[in-house]
Symmetry: C2
Amino acid sequence: MTPFSAGEVLARCDVLATITAATDGIERSYLTPEHARANWTVGEWMDEAGLTAWQDAAGNQRGSLKGPSPEAPVLILGSHLDTVPGAGRYDGILGTLMAIAVVGRLRARGAALPFGIEVIGFADEEGTRFGRTLLGSCAVAGTWQESWWSLRDPHGVTLRDAFVAFGLDPERVGDAALDPSRVVGYLEAHIEQGPLLQDAGRALGVVEGIMGARRFELEMIGEAGHAGGMPYGRRRDALLGASEVVGAVEELARGAGAIGTVGRLRAFPGAMNVIPGRVEFSLDLRAETDQLRDQVWDEIEETALKAAAARNLAFEVSELHAARATAVAPTLASAVEAGIRATGDPAPMRLMSKAGHDAMAIADLCDYAMLFIRCKDGISHHRDEDVRADDVELALDAFEAAVLAVADAHG
Amino acid sequence: MTPFSAGEVLARCDVLATITAATDGIERSYLTPEHARANWTVGEWMDEAGLTAWQDAAGNQRGSLKGPSPEAPVLILGSHLDTVPGAGRYDGILGTLMAIAVVGRLRARGAALPFGIEVIGFADEEGTRFGRTLLGSCAVAGTWQESWWSLRDPHGVTLRDAFVAFGLDPERVGDAALDPSRVVGYLEAHIEQGPLLQDAGRALGVVEGIMGARRFELEMIGEAGHAGGMPYGRRRDALLGASEVVGAVEELARGAGAIGTVGRLRAFPGAMNVIPGRVEFSLDLRAETDQLRDQVWDEIEETALKAAAARNLAFEVSELHAARATAVAPTLASAVEAGIRATGDPAPMRLMSKAGHDAMAIADLCDYAMLFIRCKDGISHHRDEDVRADDVELALDAFEAAVLAVADAHG
């Protein structure tokens, strides 16, 4: 395998795909044995590329390349190593491994950079285990919240206990943070997770910004009862209320040009002959502007409260996460654009990211820009997630050229 | 505690309520440690009442009272000891403990019966663990199906393996069956699980028949994808399809005067930022006639297939259970009615059971009749399930008188 080639990067994606808690697609969540194994494996690759590999105080896998002087700032490159359940092998992982390969290439060509490089494989972007996304990148940005320690996973384990069980010290999570005055910026490569590049017949694109998202845990509460004996007029069926909300989310979000998804829904107690007394479900809501997103949420909430009242149910809302829409930094985005132009595309496509990324959290630390890579049919968060090797080769060239363009602008 | 009184019966319901796998309501399902403990406890009470207690080859807890001669047939009395998840303390349990108490009363008064008595605490009426209801009573009726051995619980354990782990021999399940030529009939007392007796201001009622039920496992299959990146036009969101079916079940069943309930529903993979690629859900459908019930199912299926087609989903159906509507035997129902009249109600109320009961399975073995007891607000399959002590006292008197009436008719 040619070192630092697309072939090597993709083969490493295949290796990481074997580090999974489930067999039907990949499942690798925060502070699990799979997380530890992935970090260890990626650390070896970091060392091979000339980076000094280490795991930070929040469980992020990091690799440091010294700058020209002890006072030199760092450019951060990276993406995440965790996955949703049933995931494919490229979301986050490809960007992390590309960052390592690009450092290897830069060292191989003896590039003299005016800054150090910090490659980061973020430990928790998806928020699969504790519901709150971007835990890894918030630690690096210095925006970790004390209230998160009491978040619980589906088995009732708190984030604090999971931290300790993983071998981390909750008191030291602040050590993972970088000093903003010593950071040049953040570049992230990522698969698009949508079909726009494919539809336009392009391999690569420049991200203009990331949509704001809000995430909610919702609950409909009625009363369980016998599926046969309880007449319709007396039922307080929580699932009928929740199903109305599921339909309303699509109708209201779609109508407004926003995106709403109920990804999790479960009826309790969950027996065939028992009327559901309670339904737990989630809502993920995104839009190009925070204003539009908030307006759609208000409409959804109003509809849900009406549906609940009509069925004598209680509707409860807990907001887990709100991220404002963020824009890339023009200088860094120009470097990414220059990188893509260097691969022979004279006018790179610009597009919004509808998906969230570690860059949203890192935006609190420093400027950022992102490179998008075409993915097959826009499929992501699914085992069929796929990329083309020739696209990844172009992406490596573009990402390397982007780092050199940042160096030029900085120097 | 006065022996064989309502107070004793209700205190024993409280004791059994402590034998549970969960704390939020009772959960006691087939072939679990709780099942074994409940059988052992009820067996002691059977012995105290003068019955010979034993556990049969299907895990039913039985107590036998000899008849006047070795050739004498038996009258079966009983109900079930298993529960749904989150159950109350009376559904099935009250009827089983009443049967034991009535045998104790008959022995105490030295009643000479022309038949033996077999009290049965059926081991699986609800079907909570393996999806198929009435396993215990089917074993007694001799209608156990070989195909059931491969049924699996939610953890993937087969019925066969659970049988062996409980200490039962799958090859000998046939030993639990009674010989129809040696059975007089079956009498069951049960809470109504509906509000009709309460609404009519009556403590007891005579059951006319049991509605037929069909139970289905349903599945909507689409494709998982990223909750942000995948545009609406390309989504194959299985939860949106399933939610339409949930709404249609209510609309179609209610409109036709039938009863349909989706008690179980869960979206997979079940992450906040992943479009559901698959939804598993259940349907329980009941009506006064099998024809009406089947017609409503046809309409639901047609609607589900249309919803699936419109969203590019697959809709799959697996029928777990179909029970025809059954009618009580007029002679035995007259005995129950005579029993209620003996308590001072000159014209006992007659009503259909919308809930299923062990009597449905025992109907394949022999004639049956049932006594219904008022339950508070019709609430059942819920921890708030409740009965009045004075109603239970009347019910014991009526049930005892009903057995004597059967003896008179038989003799």
